[in-house]
Assembly symmetry: C2
Homo-oligomer: 196 residues x 2
């Protein structure tokens, strides 16, 4: 990424605009103006506006996950570390949608691209979870009938499933915002059943 400073500038410009205006209301002229490029030149670096958007979300997500790992490790109890990490993943998704003011239609349109982002970070997340679980088993905090790696994977997909179910069931407020608090509660209840 660092090799291409111009691309970084575009991402920075995009981040500012999407956070301020949301996806719909941001124009390529807006981004180009801040990045110091003609809007046509943006197409040399990205295929379209959506690609700039997911690149921004990707960079933000990676930074967020690194931060999340640190914060999770600050908890004294391994169970709490796992619970925090998994529930924050869900909350974070709602935050991104809220921050970028994605409309209901656009959210559905962009969701496959979001999944792409999560696919890329998935491995790193599952590895981290596996470490946590192994530590918990070693400390006799809990135990499983299966290897930690496969339990970690299951937990990861569980949190994703709850996230997606919430979006598709359309549990939203007047403003078009999605309420993930139900999903997080469900997750925590399930975790109490699984981790013991």
């Amino acid at each position: 990424m660092k090799e291409n400073p111009k691309k970084e500038e575009i991402l920075q410009a995009g981040r500012d605009c999407f956070a301020r205006f949301g996806f719909d209301k941001t124009t390529l002229d807006d981004i180009g103006r801040i990045a110091g490029l003609n809007k046509a030149s943006l197409y040399y670096y990205f295929r379209n506006k959506e690609e700039i958007f997911i690149a921004v979300v990707m960079a933000e997500t990676k930074a967020h996950i690194a931060d999340l790992k640190q914060k999770a490790l600050a908890f004294p109890d391994v169970r709490k570390q796992v619970r925090f990490f998994l529930s924050e993943r869900i909350r974070r998704y709602g935050e991104v949608i809220h921050l970028t003011r994605l409309s209901v239609e656009n959210r559905q349109k962009l969701e496959p691209l979001f999944d792409e982002v999560y696919e890329e970070t998935k491995t790193s997340e599952i590895t981290f979870l596996t470490e946590l679980l192994k530590k918990g088993v070693a400390d006799n905090a809990f135990s499983f009938p299966e290897p930690s790696a496969s339990v970690a994977e299951s937990l990861f997909y569980l949190s994703d499933a709850l996230k997606h179910e919430t979006i598709r069931s359309g549990g939203r407020f007047i403003t078009g915002e999605v309420d993930f608090s139900g999903a997080i509660e469900k997750l925590e209840r399930l975790l109490r059943l699984i981790i013991r």
Copy 2:
């Protein structure tokens, strides 16, 4: 205003959109959708987008000034009442600009219209200030070599002049926001000299 409920609905819809998206990023479709009207129908009630905008600002300003008067009267000291009222007027202007995310270009374009708004509320504000000053003189808190009404008018124009000077001198941050703290400080220093 109350006689025309449809016009009120449009204003309400406009207020929501301008606060969320800013002037540039709000479309007539956005407003029409919320107000339950075709965008073309908006032109029956308003000449254009700008006119909806200043009508919103006008309504908000009137409500704000009524609120301001109440809050000013809550101060025990008459000097503080005057100082609060005049400095809050300035701060408020910055808030409107910030809230509606007016770009530098559009701010300059719309400023004459803003002045129109302030022209309409001017009388009510000066009358209120006159009352405050008269009360202060009667209580022997301070005295002037001129009638309270003309001092009130002078103070009002002083606060407006500081407001405009700040905008034109372009004392803005990276984001295009205007910093009125200097103007408010100047005002307070001047008030200490005038009111005694």
